[in-house]
Amino acid sequence: MADLAVTSSPGSVRLPPGIWAVPPLLVLGALFFYPLSLILRQALFGDEGAFSLAHFGEVVGSRLFLDGLYHTLVIAVSATAGCLLLGFVLSLVIAFVPFPGAKLVGRLIDTFIALPTFLVALAFTFIYGSSGLLNESLMRLLDLSLPPVDFLYSQWGVILSEITVYTPFVMRPLLAAFSLVEASQIEVASSLGAKPMRIVRQIILPAALPALIAGGSLCLLLTVNEFGIVLFIGAKDVITLPLLIYDKAIQEFDYTTACIIAVVNVALSLGLYSLYRVAVAHLAGSRAGLV
């Protein structure tokens, strides 16, 4: 279209066809690839400017990094599993159990996507924090001197917050997938003798699998890179890779170590993203009869 517009007007300057790729590449290069290349250079060349993998190996093999990687993966996988479970159940209820206000509930859940992630952490502090609503009530009620509920400032607090924040990311594609499941399939399955759990397992779940994988992968990507919630909860001994990068770069001014951890974090994200693409392509292909 653009080519046609340029070449068809007589007297106008003929531009090479590839010229239109330059502006987006320039923007991408300036805003994304160049900073990324700086991080990679810092990770591999350090402050001295000489290529060496020694420091890289030292950082990657350190206890601090391995702890960070472990916490990152445990939190991301647990939160994603929680999101998938909660998102599937909630979507199932909204899509298949008729109740007044189902659409409103769906939209309310949607609005979560628009909110900053740390807001949930803040809200949880008011509810489950040491001086939060729940603990104060229980202390008054049971005449306790110490808050009895103490999970928020731990790995579980981070996981719960992430589940709350990211469940809508699973629900959105799931609700779209559920809307495509024909009611007649469910009715026929029921008439054939299938009870609700079998219908969910054998009819609805297979239909929703691509959406589940898409939503779950997105959740995994976001939770691997989650920073705000972990920082806001401030859980003791819960250091994730993004938080480690922040500590090294901002608190300790150790940019080389921060960049090495960032490179690993980016590789982890790209790996997960590639897996997601492969899974979605395979599922989409097999459903279209191509794979």
């Binding site: 007649s184 054998q202 009869g289």
Partner: protein, 398 residues
């Protein structure tokens, strides 16, 4: 990708099909044994959504082993009636029985029904054989029985060769066959068919109609409730037909009787698109006939509903029962002006204006069809036409 297959290819060899049908019939026979009544019963069934009544006081018995078709225009309540039997709609009032069991409060999965719907509703991620096996597995039937019955049911509908295919690899007609096999596999007490042929093109629909008729001949113990808006399907398959309108059953009876002697105007128009002429009943004649006056003409017609002398009623004449007048006969003659003539391949359709009323005639293709605007005289046999009350009767007949 759907593969076109000839109708001969769709049928497995006769011996294996016959074997499958025998197996099914033998299994279904105990359902009728011992004189136990098995069928479908509606007793004063009403379904309402809020204040909107979509099915009003339906009372109807489907006898065991027969096909009853419910026909009517969209929104007439026929599908609601079927869904109430399936358990997807809960009656506001009344009871539904399947066989000797009251199923009004029974969950759909516990009703022992087979259901086939317009869009097939095959499970897209399952192969044809897995679709057929679904109901059996849901009921906890042993693997050995599943292995035996799935090919048996696929053979019954001529789909054994397509057992490994996914629904997307089958044509519409083939998918519907698999859907029927799936419904039959569980050996249901009743089979519910909800416009099963509506999504098929005309040619495949005709072929499937023949197949369904043959299937029921081979499975005579199967009770079928068939919902359709297509009168041809109903007349071809059903032993009895119920005609519905605005949530009410306005007519019910044996298919042939209902077609020949519709009890009211709506039934006459909906089933067979009859010509209806306003007449006045004059006096009864021998042989169940009655004399009527139409304008200046005196005509004879059957009077199955016993309409009294002097009553205003309708003369119901089917288009194919009218013939061009031959010779000099003077009885049962209707004279009119030709309005249009259409050649439709296997027949001619002629529209006439008879004393201000439109009349349609269909006949075998004519060598020299009449021209529009020319006068034409038509005759009919009084035994082929019937008098219909102008107002619907209090209770459905049949």
């Amino acid at each position: 990708m759907a593969t076109p297959v000839s109708s001969q290819a769709l049928r497995a060899d006769d011996a294996s099909v016959s074997e499958a049908r025998s197996a099914f019939s033998a299994a279904a026979a105990p359902l009728l044994a011992g004189g136990r009544v098995r069928g479908i019963g509606f007793k004063d069934v009403t379904v309402a959504y809020g204040g909107l009544v979509v099915l009003a006081s339906l009372t109807l018995d489907v006898r065991p082993g027969e096909i009853v078709a419910l026909i009517g225009p969209s929104g007439s309540g026929k599908t609601t009636a079927l869904r109430a039997v399936a358990g997807f709609v809960r009656p506001t009032r009344g009871r539904i029985t399947i066989g000797d069991r009251d199923v009004t409060d029974v969950a759909p999965y516990a009703r022992n029904i087979g259901m086939v719907v317009q869009n097939y509703a095959l499970f897209p991620h399952m192969r044809a054989e897995e679709n057929v096996a679904f109901g059996l597995r849901a009921r906890g039937v042993s693997h050995a029985v599943v292995r035996e019955r799935v090919p048996e049911c696929l053979r019954l509908v001529g789909m054994e060769a397509y057992a490994k295919r996914f629904p997307r690899e089958l044509s519409g007609g083939q998918q519907q066959r698999v859907a029927i096999a799936r419904a039959l596999a569980i050996r249901p007490q009743v089979l519910l068919l909800d416009e099963p042929l509506s999504a098929l093109d005309a040619q495949i629909r005709r072929s499937m109609l023949d197949e369904l008729a043959k299937l029921h001949r081979d499975l005579p113990s199967l009770t079928v409730l068939y919902v359709t808006h297509d009168q041809t399907e109903a007349l071809t398959l059903a032993d009895h037909i119920g005609i519905m309108r605005d949530g009410k059953l306005v007519a019910f009876g044996a298919s042939r009787t209902l077609y020949r002697h519709p009890p009211n105007r709506f039934s006459a128009e909906f089933l067979g698109r009859a010509n209806l002429l306003p007449v006045t009943s004059l006096e009864p004649k021998a042989g169940g006939l009655a004399q009527v006056r139409f304008g200046e003409a005196v005509l004879a017609a059957t009077n199955p509903h016993g309409l009294p002398q002097g009553s205003q009623c309708l003369l119901c004449v089917r288009p194919h029962d009218l013939r061009l007048r031959e010779g000099e006969g003077t009885h049962n003659i209707l004279a009119g002006i030709v309005e249009s003539v259409q050649w439709q391949g296997d027949l001619h359709a002629i529209a006439l204006n008879v004393q201000g009323h439109k009349l349609r005639l269909t006949c075998a293709p004519l060598g020299a069809p009449p021209e529009a605007g020319t006068p034409l005289a038509l005759a009919f046999d009084p035994h082929d036409v019937t008098l219909v009350p102008e107002t619907p009767p209090e209770k459905p007949g049949g």
